[in-house]
């Protein structure tokens, strides 16, 4: 079980991404965290190279819809559409459904309890 936690776009707030990375690691998941300001294309490449089961995208700037779309499109275009994409961050309630419609496996908006996130990743990648 291997997960890539990534920060797409320009947003530099990485507390949430790092906390989730720590929690997943403690739960026995192999975690790669790619750092700030990765482009969707870089994230797609890294997900494929690292052969991960899932990608967790953390976005707090409001740009989650275009960024998630580009990651999903990129994975599909590279024949890696089976890698599940999970989005967390400041996601307004109305955008949760829109992200799911794009193909995001699960959205964890603000206020999500950490154990719920860990549980989902474990189930999604087992």
């Amino acid at each position: 079980m291997k997960v890539l936690i990534a920060k797409p776009g320009l947003d530099g707030h990485d507390r949430g991404a790092k906390v989730v990375a720590h929690a997943l690691r403690d739960a026995g998941v192999e975690v790669v965290y790619s750092g700030l300001k990765r482009t969707p294309e870089e994230i797609v490449q890294e997900a494929i190279q690292e052969d991960v089961d899932a990608v967790g995208l953390s976005v707090l700037s409001g740009a989650h819809l275009p960024l998630a779309r580009r990651v999903l499109d990129g994975l599909r275009a590279q024949g890696a559409g089976d890698i599940r994409v999970i989005v967390g961050g400041i996601i307004p309630p109305k955008d949760v459904d829109a992200l799911v419609a794009l193909g995001v496996a699960r959205v964890f908006p603000m206020g999500t309890a950490l154990p719920d996130i860990v549980k989902f990743f474990q189930e999604a990648t087992s």
Binding site: L10, G12, D14, R15, K18, A23, S61, G62, P93
Partner: protein, 531 residues
Amino acid sequence: MRDVRLHAGIPVKPVYGPEDLAGRDAARDIGQPGEYPFTRGIHRNMYRDRLWTMRQYIGFGTPAETNARFKYLMAHGQDALNVAFDLPTQLGLDSDDPRADGEVGRVGMAIDTLADMEEAFAGIPLDRVSVSLTINGMAAPITAMYYAVAEKQGAAPERVVTTPQNDILKEFVARGTWIYPVDPSLRLVGDLIEFSARQYPRSNPVSVCGYHIREAGCTTAQEMAYGLAIAAAYIDMMVRRGMAVDDFAPRVSFNFTCWGKIFEEAAKFRAGRRLYARMVRERFGATNPKSCMFRSLIGGGGSAFTVQEPENNIVRGAYIALAAALSGAQTMALPTYDEAYTIPSAKAQLIALRTMQICAEESGAADTADPLAGSYFVEALTNEMEAKILEELAAVERMGGIVEAVKSGALQAEVARQAYLFEQKLVSGEIPKVAVNCHVGERAAEADREVELYAFDPSVAARQVAKLAKIRGERDDRAARAALSRLTDEARGTANLMPAIMEAVKAYATLGEICQAMKTVFGEHKEPVKW
């Protein structure tokens, strides 16, 4: 009996008494308000002479929209501004840059050229309103634009009061709007401090932020320790550049949060003021008492706010305002109750402003200087907090000093570790959060769809890009190119870059072009990804 431990790790006793202050010299360590070492605050009469400045953080969409919100809050009694820029602006990307896709005007206003800055401050007299600019990696060009607007308005330089944040070291630790590698980034910080100290004597050309590092997860004592270490790094740099400490230190300011336990926060600031005063006098040899004053924006702390039952955040905001007042804030800013959802609505901004005004006018918190002085608990805690801050400063030294700790990522890793510890305590309930991990209602709290939220206007990017194209078409392109070329040349040397940046700004070179003109020489920062 319940065990109580503060965020800094200090245990709290149920009762404090005179024995907790034994062996301390009150005259030396506590002193009087307005006197060295300023434990009790930096002014003799504190808020009786002058209330704290109220400075809500504002900016979204286009400069015109932000200008309208500025005027709305000023019409309701806000007396100063605190400007938010969008991420492309903070990172030196023009609105039509592909990397800006989806981010234009999102978390602040978009600025591409001087024309945008002119529009943002239209009708706002810059010789009378003090303006804080939350900008770091691009502080030099954005402040240059601000100075150019002030000049166009006819404002005398000695009357221009602006506070560019210009604290790049904390951006490498938290918030992440770094652009260039650490060393050239520090050079730009120094160029702006030096230029401003000489040309704009009432500007505050650096605002050292513990705030964002705390928001990223560190403890109260670490927040103060890292802030003091960063301030020392800047002061040391300016002294090495040949400036006398008293020529710039009086205009160094701070930006800290106070969202935690009220007495711990007050003690943190009382200890911090004492440590800073002693450091600037003893280590750097300052003789002007103003050089030794820890002047701070205190407030904020959106991480204290919850998405569950968001109206509860209004109450949390009132306690933050009280803590800031008891901590001796010069300037106050509060997060808004919709903080966890999005950038603030006008209504949420007004409630935050009203909260500060009620604290100032009605609560009595502003009636006398440092009302907590002499409390057995607060004085003992101030001493314990001072010891903790010194421990954390020693830890930074073990990492090789603050600049090395930032370059290696060791500090970033420590902050992430603390963030995870904090989260675990929220999960276990050790840190209580009402309606989140205690006193939770029967139905699991969901995101409240009833909250009136700021609605992002998707047409912002197109409008901003069209305006940028128009400016590029209308400007004297040759003058802009010549200014950019001069900037690149001077970046190769060691001269202060502000004059070249001012020239480029006035020639309507875009922020993206100015950023790139220096990137050609400086390169880009490569993040040490440590967690």
